[in-house]
Symmetry: C2
Subunit: 548 residues, 2 copies
């Protein structure tokens, strides 16, 4: 045996790191930076899962959230839903193992996508209180309800089952979780309260009951009785697949030929197109995919990029649509003008996505402050990292001055406006595991700006017309006021009877008024796309921001 | 068997997600957002590892970096070091498995800490080119060099060894890696070139040779022949341990008693203190750690928080020190005033850390632009996410106007200044896996601000004195110029001889000049802490920014 070197000594310290250990030490990456945010994250992850599960099962969601204060910096979080429940065998892993789930490997719009969220809540609770998570689940009235107490073995990233029993439960189906954790409760911006309010706004089909730590019960009633359109699962689009992934897909494909592989494992490839791609790559369409060498795969990859393939199907997306967006806004925000735009689907890195923007203007909204931005991804409110979000960049890059709102160069505009931006996608590119901000893909920012410009124009038109109407009314009033005096002077000059002149003048005014008021009327009747605009009662107070 | 429910259907889709799959899909989390950044990340991860390995082995680093352009958007990255090498058995896992390494589980200042970096480079290279990484390693002249070609099985997160052989290598010991990846090369901000320049600045003990894609060879010579002070490994400090971690430590401790556990598994706990902690928690110091129940652990946890324990040892930190910081600055930046401050160690969440700040002023630095910020963590340049970094917040929160530099409220000041901020810690809390920005811990920001204020004051004193000196010189010149005229007038008035008066006036000036010039001299001799300040030759051009 040769001499022992420094390298031998260093080798002894090499070890595998479990993903749980990694995130326990880096829990801020999962959003558990501080106790206040931790409380929010726990509620958010549980509610997101409840909304996903009910939607997938075609159930109108009825969700109960409760926060109990145990001591100064400790809370119990309870979230209960009427979803399809979870089969007994899956419960421990879903809650007690990071990177486990059903949503990561398929392309379909859902709130969760990483298989980290809810187990991160258990991890954090255990880290700060030493306690596990209590889960009750029932899958049908014919099945008994199951109760588990689950801990997480961080060194192995595996669940530890502390208790497992059947229990009586009045619910026919659903899931209830209880978890204790270190947290602080504070109202206002970025609070649990705000999250619940926003989740109700963006999910008008959900009924949400929230019991605060102060034992107050808030109910957010369901305002739409239809479930969102079901989002279909799709195959990856060839343009979004990287060379390394293509190679792996070929190696593990069950297809017998390259042609069948291309048609079966991707969306939008017909037999004809498959042959065209193979031909360009100088490959035999009947070759076994697993026998394709790296260089050949690279040719195939290049040939895919150089072939015209239509955009991916978009039935994998389930947008809110303009009507629901406006309903949601009206429910939560007291403004005088509302509008919304749902853009047609687009594609980034092969992933279909869609941007919708809602806007509310005036009413009780603050005139002298920055406009309020509400950000959503797949119907989940994003409350942190606004500065790092593609949404914010898009808003700052939009020229709001031309829409009648004041704005310093490249910054958030100032005015009585709330903007809601929603991105729906099979894969939202978040800037961190905590899923707080959307990454700056140029395709995404472009769509956001187009949507913002459209609502901006609608708002501008509303502001312009209402300001004009108000000014014209003022002109009419002024004229009316001076008619007697004018008539008197004219009478003195011409010798005509004062009453006669006054009558004539009023006739002129009446005629003009008709024209003027038709403008006002037009403004009142403005309906963008025939349906999406609503006016409040405070029209006369309008127009102040136009001067900016 | 009961009926099949929606829950059964959903259960079939549940799957484990490997950490490699996770990061392959989320590669922007590792810093591989775009081809330009990807090229930088590859160089950075490899060079960081080389610097860590040489430092741990006590070798003055000699590092070779080469970028070869293969085609428009593809590069080969080569990094070679004279480090201790890696034993054959460890090579595949170190490069071909995410979350594997020696640095995660110990508390010691090092560049790497997560066990992700270099394997992420392989993952990205494979994803974009289908090719693996080529690694050559030799651990001593008595051992043969080993060559590996390694791929990564993303579904298993395990290395695949494509080739494994012994080779001839002229190096006695060291590691060489070669990897092909999709990238773009562009000079300027956030480029590989800038990274190499900054890494040389912050590692004056390293010799770095860099061959650019344009086949130009740049050499950054070693300017210090001592290695940085060795950073010792420490035990965790009791204040930084969370309840869940305390429970896990007790369960897996090899100590026979609670007292021995507290003394042995933590830093700064003496026998007396261990007994005091147990007593407060109403626990028997002779109890077996593994028998402590959760509630008891919680008492112990509370008792630790309520016991006065001295701060952790700081020999785990290896700061640059002011001298090296100034040497580094002078080497790379052409300014007229340099200073630096190394703060005493401090603690956040039980982790020792230390802040040092260097500053360069004037010279060829741009006067009308925002000051330039160079950020470093454990001697690694941070080139991205400046806006998200604690460093930036600290700079914006510092009142630069009082130091003679113009600044709008809470923003980056404007002036001919470069600020270097270095955080050394056993665990740098990065805001993402890509390790681009330091998280906003209040303790860290406080230390940064104190250091910034100190260099700010030194700069202010330099500016003040030099401006004053220049103004005084101007006053002297003016006086000298008017002496003959003044003497003439006085001679006419008094009848005294003109020459006599002129002589007297010159005597007065001379006397005053002595006082005035002693001020200038003092300014010239200003040495902060007796050694750390150096002046350039351009003193007379000074002071322009003082008016701001």
């Amino acid at each position: 045996m040769a001499e022992r070197t420094k390298a031998h000594e260093m080798a002894e310290k090499q070890r595998e790191i479990s993903v749980s250990e990694f995130f326990a030490k880096n829990r801020h990456l999962l959003g558990f930076d501080n106790p206040r945010k931790a409380l929010l994250m726990a509620v958010k992850e549980a509610v997101d899962n409840s909304l996903d599960a009910t939607q997938e099962a075609g159930i109108l969601p009825d969700i109960y959230v409760e926060l109990q204060q145990i001591k100064e910096d400790r809370f119990k979080v309870i979230v209960e839903d009427n979803g399809p429940g979870i089969v007994k065998e899956q419960i421990p892993k879903i809650f007690g193992k990071l990177l486990y789930g059903s949503k990561f490997h398929r392309l379909r719009q859902s709130r969760g996508q990483q298989g980290i969220g809810i187990s991160a809540v258990l991890l954090y609770g255990q880290l700060t209180t030493g306690k596990g998570m209590h889960v009750t689940s029932r899958i049908s009235p014919k099945h008994q309800a199951h109760y588990f107490e689950i801990h997480l073995d961080t060194q192995k990233n595996d669940p530890i089952i502390k208790e497992d029993k059947t229990v009586e439960w009045k619910k026919e189906h659903g899931v209830r979780i209880e978890v204790e954790l270190q947290g602080t409760y504070q109202k206002g911006k970025q609070s649990v309260d705000e999250y619940i309010k926003e989740i109700a706004l963006i999910n008008p089909h959900a009924q949400i009951t929230y019991r605060t730590p102060e034992k107050e019960t808030l109910t957010y009633a369901r305002v739409m009785n239809e479930l969102p359109k079901e989002a279909k699962e799709i195959k990856p689009h060839p343009y979004g697949v990287e060379l390394g992934v293509l190679i792996r897909m070929m190696q593990s494909s069950s297809a017998g030929t390259l042609s069948a592989f291309l048609q079966g494992d991707f969306s939008r490839i017909s037999q004809q197109l498959a042959h065209e791609i193979c031909e360009k790559a100088k490959l035999n369409p009947r070759a076994r995919p697993s026998t394709i060498a790296r260089d050949e795969a690279e040719s195939l990859f290049g040939s895919i990029q150089n072939t015209k393939i239509i955009a991916p199907p978009t039935d994998c997306l389930s947008p809110l649509k303009e009507e629901a967006l406006i309903k949601g806004l009206k429910k939560e925000i007291n403004a005088e003008f509302y509008c919304a735009v749902t853009r047609p689907p687009s594609v980034y890195r092969g992933n279909p996505f869609l941007i919708e923007v809602g806007l509310a203007y005036g009413g009780s909204l603050e005139k002298e402050e920055h406009i309020k931005i509400m950000r959503f991804a797949n119907r989940v409110p994003l409350l942190y990292q606004q500065g790092a979000c593609a949404t914010t960049e898009s808003i700052m890059d939009t020229a709001w001055k031309s829409y009648g709102i004041s704005q310093s160069k490249d910054s958030i505009p100032v005015g009585p406006v709330i903007v809601v931006v929603h991105m729906a996608s099979v894969w939202v590119p978040f800037t961190s595991e905590a899923k707080e901000a959307i990454a700056h893909y140029p395709e995404i920012i472009k769509e956001m700006k187009l949507a913002l410009q459209e609502v901006g124009r609608q708002m501008a038109s509303y502001i312009r017309k209402n300001v004009r109407a108000r000014e014209q009314q003022e002109r009419i009033n002024l004229f009316e006021k001076y008619i007697p005096e004018l008539a008197n002077s004219l009478s003195n000059l011409t010798g005509e009877k004062k009453e006669k002149i006054q009558e004539e003048l009023e006739k002129i005014l009446k005629k003009n008024m008709k024209d003027l008021l038709s403008d006002v009327k037009e403004a009142e009747q403005t309906e963008i796309k025939g349906k999406n605009v609503a006016f409040g009662e405070k029209q006369t107070t309008l127009g102040d921001t136009d001067a900016s």
